[in-house]
């Protein structure tokens, strides 16, 4: 395989390491971290999306839902901390894996030709940070009410904040763009996590592909319908 005689390989001792070090120190273990945190965050967005849909049942329903979420502050903070940890580990895994990849080809090709890489797979490194920025804005917008372009934030009145906040077109547009990024990110992410978790699946016509497609349509559809409904005047302040 090589034109020069290979150097005698140094004897490996992955054995000497602890189980945790074996996982966190290897590229495949870092992919596992990426996948497991991806599963947690995917689970979160399903719950968030389903909760959001109560807005279509009216102001009282979603305001009651908002109260219910805060009923057990300890639980709420445990979930928030868990999500923050997941996001942190997800980003750490991305950086750890990417540093390896950035160093793996110091000199690129003059001519690049993609055969299989999808738009979603090639934009993961952009859709991720955009979603990160969106989440920070979204928390400041609707959770803390710190940034409230075009409306007056009313503490506890979820319905008012949601409809008034999204009536401002530039913000609604940002929400819709962010959801497009989410669609690309979770489509490639969900299909990839099957690979990373070691569940062998062909690239096409496989269960992993179908799960990723259905998950993306259902979750992102459920999210994006709200800013669209506000812009279309279906959801409006009484």
């Amino acid at each position: 395989m090589s034109s020069s005689a290979p150097a005698v390989a140094a004897v490996q001792s992955p054995a000497a390491e602890s189980r945790l070090a074996r996982i966190l120190g290897s590229s495949i273990g870092q992919k596992l971290v990426m996948a497991v945190t991806g599963v947690i965050l995917s689970g979160f967005i399903v719950g968030h999306m389903v909760g959001n849909l109560t807005v279509f049942k009216g102001a009282e329903a979603i305001n009651a839902y908002g109260v219910a979420l805060r009923k057990f502050p300890a639980l709420l903070w445990a979930v928030r901390f868990g999500l923050l940890l997941s996001v942190g580990l997800h980003i750490w895994a991305y950086l750890a894996l990417s540093f390896k990849s950035w160093g793996a080809r110091p000199q690129g090709y003059k001519v690049a030709a993609y055969k299989e890489a999808s738009f979603a797979s090639r934009t993961m490194r952009w859709t991720g940070p955009i979603l990160g920025a969106f989440v920070i804005f979204h928390i400041l917008h609707f959770t803390t009410g710190t940034i409230t372009p075009g409306f007056a934030f009313k503490e506890g009145d979820v319905f008012h904040n949601l409809v008034a906040g999204l009536s401002y077109a530039p913000v609604a547009a940002f929400y819709i763009v962010a959801m497009a990024c989410l669609a690309l990110h979770v489509f490639h992410g969900v299909w990839s996590l099957f690979q990373s978790l070691g569940i062998s699946q062909p690239r096409y016509e496989s269960t992993a592909r179908r799960v990723a497609t259905l998950f993306t349509i259902a979750v992102v559809g459920g999210f994006v319908i709200i800013p669209i409904a506000v812009l279309a005047g279906i959801l409006k302040l009484q």
């Binding site: 996982i23 090709y109 690239r203």
Partner: protein, 258 residues
């Protein structure tokens, strides 16, 4: 047919390289890609210039030695075809082709289009084998292998170690190669005793060699002349994770060929 070639020329490992343009004239469409390069090289030799260095050996698609990136595609535009099995009929008269070596930190350029794939050998050396007693050949039917396992093992064993997967991967990852080697032994009964240790050692070595990491683009599978599927990467991940989580240190360390 006449073809314009933009070829990466690099004197040695440490030299700066550059693209040089050559004309390949009166090329028969029945020639193989490497025969076309032979013709160009004969012209260069007659003119007293240094011929283009490229790797090749069997020229029948089974040795894994050849490999040129043609217009961004390792082994050229044809599916499931090594560079030596690519024919000039795959191109049109007047085409401009850019020829580059495999680009990867772990595959340093030795000269022109030839790279050092010793990193692959070093990955094999830490675990891509089984430990078997020497002496008389054992009875062929003494160990039964299920048909499906034999088929899948052969699918993986088709890997010729050419490195096109690394060349094609936007991340410069060698995971398809390592997955093929782990899978081909892991499907067979003979590969079981060292299966955990093999996965741990080969993956560790792969990381140390400076390859990138898989993000499931699927470019490797598309470029592979032997059509190794990326399902095997998932299988490698499973073998590695199982070994990393459940193999006790003593067992993972055991056996270095003895």
């Amino acid at each position: 047919m006449n073809i314009t070639l933009h070829v990466w020329r690099q004197k040695n490992r440490n030299a700066e390289g550059a693209f040089v343009t050559y004309q390949a004239r009166d090329i028969s469409p029945d020639m193989s890609f490497l025969e076309m390069l032979d013709v160009v090289n004969e012209g260069l030799i007659l003119k007293g210039e240094e011929p283009i260095a490229f790797d090749h050996d069997c020229r029948e698609g089974i040795c894994g030695q050849c490999g040129v990136v043609v217009n961004g595609s390792p082994h050229g535009p044809r599916k499931a075809t090594t560079t030596c099995q690519l024919h000039m009929r795959s191109f049109k008269d007047g085409d401009e082709l850019t020829l580059e070596p495999w680009r990867a930190n772990a595959f340093p350029v030795i000269k022109d289009l030839i790279v050092d794939r010793g990193a692959f050998d070093r990955i094999i050396a830490v675990g891509g084998f089984i430990t078997a007693p020497t002496g008389n050949a054992p009875d062929g039917n003494a160990i039964l292998v299920p048909k499906l396992a034999a088929d899948r093992s052969m699918d993986a064993a088709a890997c010729i170690g050419c490195g096109a997967c690394v060349a094609a991967c936007p991340n410069g990852s060698a995971m398809l190669f390592v997955a093929a080697k782990i899978t081909h032994l892991g499907y067979l009964p003979q590969g079981q005793p060292e299966r955990d240790r093999r996965a741990l050692a080969m993956v560790a070595r792969m990381d140390e060699e400076g390859f990138g990491t898989c993000t499931n683009h699927g470019e490797c599978e598309a470029a592979c002349p032997k059509e190794i599927p990326i399902e095997f990467i998932a299988r490698m991940n499973r073998d590695f994770l199982k070994a990393a989580l459940f193999t006790p240190a003593e067992r993972a360390a055991a056996s270095d060929g003895g």
